[in-house]
């Protein structure tokens, strides 16, 4: 009278034995019809061109059995619960900002999310127009004329900017033939950016020279620059703000480089540009190329990615640009439309002579940025930037009251990040504050020689007065505990 529960297992059995699979719609009937049409006895036969001696269907010790979506969602919720930075004051290239809810609600729509690169323009107008609007916004923010459709992230964008600058402004031949191209990239540029730039440019005969920074301002020093100007260089990189959160003297640096025949590459935080002078207006002539990390424009922290790199330049450098570019044109009925353009620079046409090997970029993230910037508008972005800056100052006022705490660079002008000098090892302080649920900042000991007691602290618009109070109290307690111990 009672059925056994095993009866209910028949589906599971079906999966194992008969070939059902979550994302494969074929019935057994389909399989038969299709093999008949092909003229093959079984699926095995379809692989008969693969030499038997190299085939292997097992030996996957790290590949577990399938999970249902329900089971995996539960696992992933647990794992997500074991991730996240708590009350976070770390920046250093990745910034916690408010992202309007509408941004990802729209960017996640299937038509954007599951499209490929818009090769068939007529069936991809949504993506193409969004990218073109993104390009326009990046041009506006940087005050330059041409933008590409994104690169991987801020660091690779800098590397591509360097390669681009060297192509546009190659070294003159020296007396002994080819000279290596030199690019000045001050030590105030984010250390990881410098590492990536080195990794990506080292095979093309480019020498990256790293002038030192000023100990008082935490920004590139003219002394440092003058020390390395003995040989010609193709370009100077100017970060704004730099790794320490400090604002460089962009006008002076730009004019200095231009005077020496070099191009200027601005490596900028796009949100900061809502407040600060844009690259196109630096110095007398403006920077030639701007690049940076797009993450502050709508990308969640996400443990480091996906973010996107942006790259803009003067009109005259457009054909040196790496990556995709969208252009506006008309259809045969004279209606406006958008296409990928200037493709002769790219790998799928130019192959070994392309401006870059980049193919897939961070397309969806540019849609994210376009929506994000539209929702914020000029005043929304400006108010967020202002709040970041105001909050940094508010925290500074609090922590400067704590005994033994001061600014590492006493004369630094900061945007939303600053370096604190602590009376003890910053890593230990951070560890203690972690116990209070606070990620207190980035201890610089492992990043910069001699900065063991330095803590890079970032404050964005996401922090309230209470958060800042909590930070100050926790910092004070962490230092005090040392004193008492």
């Amino acid at each position: 009278m009672f059925c056994r529960i095993e009866l209910f297992f028949r589906i599971e059995l079906f999966f194992r034995i008969e070939g059902g699979m979550p994302f494969i719609p074929h019935t057994q009937e389909d399989l038969r019809i299709m093999l008949d049409a092909i003229g093959a006895a079984d699926v095995e036969a379809l692989f008969d061109e693969i030499p038997a001696n190299i085939r292997s269907r097992d030996a996957m010790p790290n590949m577990p059995e399938a999970l249902s979506e329900m089971a995996l969602m539960r696992l992933m919720r647990e794992r997500a619960g074991q991730s996240g930075a708590g009350l976070n004051f770390i920046g250093a290239g990745a910034y916690e900002h408010h992202i309007p809810a509408a941004v990802w609600e729209i960017a996640g729509r299937g038509e954007f999310y599951t499209a490929y690169t818009p090769y068939q323009a007529e069936a991809s107008q949504g993506m193409l127009q969004a990218i073109w609007e993104f390009q326009s916004m990046m041009c506006g923010l940087t005050a330059l004329e041409v933008s590409n459709a994104s690169l991987y992230d801020g660091a690779t964008a800098l590397a591509e900017a360097i390669l681009m600058a060297v192509r546009a402004n190659p070294p003159k031949k020296g007396p002994d033939g080819d000279r290596p191209a030199r690019v000045l990239i001050p030590a105030s540029v984010h250390p990881k950016y410098r590492q990536v730039a080195a990794a990506m440019t080292r095979h093309q005969g480019i020498e990256l020279v790293e002038p030192s920074f000023c100990a008082k301002r935490g920004a590139a020093s003219m002394n440092g620059l003058n020390l390395v100007e003995d040989e010609p260089f193709s370009a100077l990189v100017i970060p704004l703000p730099n790794f320490f959160g400090s604002i460089e003297d962009v006008d002076t640096l730009t004019d200095w480089a231009h005077k020496r025949g070099a191009l200027v590459i601005a490596q900028v935080n796009p949100m900061a540009l809502a407040l600060l002078k844009p690259p196109g207006e630096w110095g007398a002539a403006g920077a030639d190329i701007a690049c940076g990390e797009g993450q502050p424009l709508g990308a969640p922290l996400s443990f480091g990615g996906p973010y996107f790199g942006f790259l803009t330049c003067r009109q005259k450098l457009a054909r040196q640009m790496p990556g995709r570019i969208v252009g506006r044109t008309v259809d045969k009925d004279e209606r406006e439309g958008f296409v990928l353009t200037l493709q002769a620079r790219e790998q799928h046409i130019r192959r070994a002579k392309a401006t870059s090997n980049i193919c897939t970029n961070q397309g969806l993230m540019t849609v994210v940025a376009a929506i994000h910037l539209s929702l914020l508008g000029p005043e929304g972005l400006r108010s967020a930037a202002s709040a970041c800056h105001g909050n940094l100052n508010a925290l500074r006022r609090r922590v400067e009251r704590i005994d033994g705490v001061s600014l590492w660079f006493p004369e630094a002008v900061s945007f939303h990040e600053m370096v604190l000098k602590l009376p003890m090892d910053a890593a230990l302080v951070v560890e203690r504050m972690r116990g209070e649920g606070i990620s207190a900042g980035l201890p610089l000991g492992e990043w910069v020689e001699g900065m063991d007691n330095a803590l890079l602290v970032c404050v964005t618009e996401t922090k309230t007065a209470e958060d800042l109070d909590r930070y100050a109290a926790a910092l004070s307690a962490a230092l005090h505990r040392e004193a008492g111990a």
Binding site: A115, Q120, G140, Q204, L275, A318, R335, L342, N361
Partner: protein
């Protein structure tokens, strides 16, 4: 449809996203550093922005709306569950420089993903750092270079690629400072082994190959090729673009490759997002292990942590500021957990079944196959040359006309070896009924081309815009909005 800037009105303040600082106080920015010029961002209401981008999205084909048989791109279903999982708050809030102890959950996923990719590729070590296939290629070739350099084998200046290779292969080799030489292809779509033998030598740094090849066939002589290159002192690089055809059936490591990249948006079903973000993890054999790009996730007891450059001095270095496209990798991880060990092999089975079925049906419908003697892998090529000769209708025209029939178009004019070609990849996630509808559409277009070629040459007719003037776009570049 108007662009967002045309909907802007100066002085509109409709944002919900205005923020004030926690308290007022003296600012520290000198006036001379402040921006004076407008940023040009649009001033629209939240409704205007939402409506604008929602409508834009509707003008786009995606897998979620259309069959997308784009050869070489593996446009399979992107599980919504993977999206939701990767967007869980803890993952989104994770700062890449926070202490590893705070990020054990995400690190566990990444560690396991490294292991699964190692299994599938037959490689000894994996780094998830590269942010796209092309960057994976860069990492791979850079590791080969680092290997030779470490052995002071500095005379190796050439990289070989088949003439049918993806453009990224030669472009990457160039970026790594190599000279590229292209190996010819036989009329059966294989690498010309005799030519290869002539080309290898002490100057050979390595060979970049994808197998199945971009011609939609399996490179049968792979073991011989591998032996030839290795004997000459070169290394073999595997472009994982076509891994979906063989995953779980044959591993690059077993074919003799030293180094592999995989495109997670192809084999592992992560969305392509209209051009990215993707991710291009690389796997290597034992001898390239010291050179892996950083970071790599390691496990020590029950703890996971990130290994950085200083722990692997031979590393080619960093590929990104942080750890790569984590959100994309989490989607790939979710996909692999959902299909599991059994499933991943079925993927290759049914992708291959679909391609061979579609090839057989199109052949029967009168289309010319590029390699009629060969099995299709997960994709195959037809040539429309006879149609072009007879009617003037080109592959491009047929592609555009397919849009009218409610299909995205296959890849056209790639690989360049086959004239007027279409590279067609149905993937395993499409049903037989959908393939049949696609055959019906192509058959109908064939008929149209013969009876009314103009109709096809002026296609598409049902899309939001008709055929766009690409020449004008390139001649008079209009690359950004200007209020002028």
């Amino acid at each position: 449809m108007s662009v967002i800037f045309e909907q802007s009105q100066a002085g509109r303040l409709a944002s919900l996203h205005q923020n004030a600082p926690a308290e007022s106080g003296e600012a520290t920015l000198p006036e001379s550093l402040l921006r004076q010029s407008p940023s040009g961002l649009p001033e629209v209401s939240e409704l205007q922005a939402v409506r604008h981008y929602t409508r834009l999205s509707q003008k786009n084909y995606g897998i979620d709306t259309h069959f997308y048989p784009l050869g070489s791109c593996t446009m399979k279903y992107n599980p919504r569950g993977a999206h939701r999982m990767a967007m869980l708050p803890g993952f989104l809030d994770a700062h890449p420089l926070a202490d590893d102890s705070l990020n054990q959950g995400v690190l566990a996923c990444l560690y396991e993903l490294q292991g699964m990719i190692g299994d599938l590729t037959g490689m000894a070590g994996v780094s998830l750092a590269p942010m796209a296939g092309a960057q994976g290629e860069f990492a791979g070739v850079a590791m080969m270079r680092a290997y030779h350099t470490a052995r002071r084998d500095d005379a190796r200046v050439e990289i070989l690629t088949p003439d049918a290779a993806h453009g990224t292969n030669p472009a990457t080799a160039s970026m790594c400072g190599y000279v590229v030489r292209e190996i010819p292809t036989t009329d059966q779509g294989d690498v010309d082994v005799e030519a290869l033998k002539q080309m290898v030598g002490p100057q050979t740094a390595g060979l970049m190959l994808t197998n199945p090849s971009t011609l939609g066939v399996f490179e049968r002589s792979i073991s011989e090729i591998s032996a030839i290159v290795h004997a000459a002192g070169g290394l073999l690089y595997y472009d994982g673009a076509n891994l979906n055809a063989i995953a779980g059936r044959v591993r690059p490591g077993d074919m003799g490759f030293d180094c592999v990249h995989v495109n997670v948006h192809k084999t592992f079903a992560t969305p392509h997002g209209g051009g990215g973000p993707g991710a291009g993890p690389v796997g290597v054999s034992e001898r390239l292990l010291p050179h892996l790009p950083m970071p790599v996730v390691v496990r020590e007891g029950d703890e996971y942590r990130l290994q950085h450059c200083d722990e692997r001095p031979g590393s080619i270095g960093r590929m990104s500021t942080f750890h790569g496209n984590i959100g994309v990798l989490l989607r790939a991880y979710a996909y692999l957990r959902l299909v599991g060990r059994e499933g991943i092999a079925r993927v290759a089975d049914y992708a291959t079944l679909n391609a061979n079925y579609l090839m057989a049906r199109l052949r029967d419908a009168g289309f010319q196959l590029a390699f009629p003697e060969r099995r299709a892998t997960h994709e195959f090529i037809i040539s429309l040359k006879p149609l072009t000769d007879a009617t003037g209708v080109r592959a491009l025209d047929v592609a555009k006309r397919l849009l009218d029939y409610g299909f995205y178009a296959p890849t056209i004019y790639f690989p360049m070896l086959v004239p007027e070609c279409m590279l067609i990849e149905p993937t395993e996630s499409e049903s037989r009924e959908e393939l049949d509808r696609f055959v019906d559409a192509l058959t109908a277009i064939l008929q149209e081309a013969r009876e009314n070629p103009e109709l096809v040459k002026t296609a598409p007719h049902k899309t939001p815009v008709s055929r766009l003037d690409e020449t004008r776009a390139a001649r008079k570049p209009d690359l950004a909005f200007s209020r002028g």
